[in-house]
């Protein structure tokens, strides 16, 4: 009986952790994963953390188009956080490339999945180096 108490407690903690998983979702990791997926034109990796509604909007063709624009800037390096509004699930990152940068913007919905993913080219000379 005494052994069962810690086990039950662990189970409860696991359930609570799962319930609060969206709060623990690392936005930068999600954005980085999706950006890397787009850059690689990898449909599965791109949509891995997209919510159901967003997955329906994604096509291989649009992934390829964005991937082409990213490749035009060279190799992808990393993402740097710029602004965020956690209350609204909004996070912006600067994705740096060899020859430029792009602004990556995501919105994380309460389920912890990405509800919106958009990238915008950064005008040359304004990127943080």
């Amino acid at each position: 009986m005494r052994r069962a108490v810690p086990v039950l407690g662990a189970v409860a903690l696991a359930i609570a952790a799962a319930a609060c998983s969206h709060d623990r979702a690392d936005p930068q990791a999600l954005a980085g994963g999706a950006t890397r997926g787009v850059y690689d034109a990898d449909f599965a990796r791109t949509t891995q953390n997209f919510d159901g509604a967003l997955k329906l909007q994604v096509t291989r063709q649009t992934i390829g188009q964005i991937s082409d624009k990213m490749h035009a800037l060279g190799a992808l390096h990393d993402l740097k956080a710029t602004t965020s509004d956690p209350d609204k699930g909004r996070y912006d990152y600067e994705a740096t490339f060899d020859k430029g940068a792009m602004l990556v913007q995501i919105r994380i919905d309460p389920s912890g999945k990405i509800g919106a993913y958009r990238v915008s080219p950064v005008i040359a000379g304004t990127a943080a180096r």
């Binding site: 997209f50 967003l54 964005i66 710029t82 602004l103 915008s120 080219p121 304004t126 943080a128």
Partner: protein, 161 residues
Amino acid sequence: MTKRRLASLSLAATLAMTAVPAAPALADGAASTRNILIGGAAAALLIINHNKKVHEKYAEYDRRQAETQAQANNAEAAYESERSAYAHEAALVSAYKHEVAVQHSEVMSLRHQLAMSQSNAKRLAAQQTAFRPLVADARVTNPAPAPRLRVANVSYGWGTL
């Protein structure tokens, strides 16, 4: 002078008058004929006048009858005219009612179209807001930190932020 004496004297005078011989009657034929003609003419004039008055009375009666008839006819004609005018007014009112109904229907149709256009305009404005450059949204939602990056006025991706 008693009453007897007066009676005797009057009787005697009467007898004396009867004793005086009477003048002979004049037998003038022309005058008689003239008198008869004059009397006949007078009678004829009287009759003519009488007839004239009678005819005048009848004429007056007929004239009044004619006037009355004319008035009656006029009243009837006036009634018919009023009735016709009323019918025309009723038809006009009916036409006005129909016109009002048509205009009401048109107004309702225009209101519906206006509401639809306003709804479409709102929807379009919402869509334009949704598809607005993302940087602008970021500035609106989080105006405090000034954006370090200047981004192009286009964005690629999926979903709305």
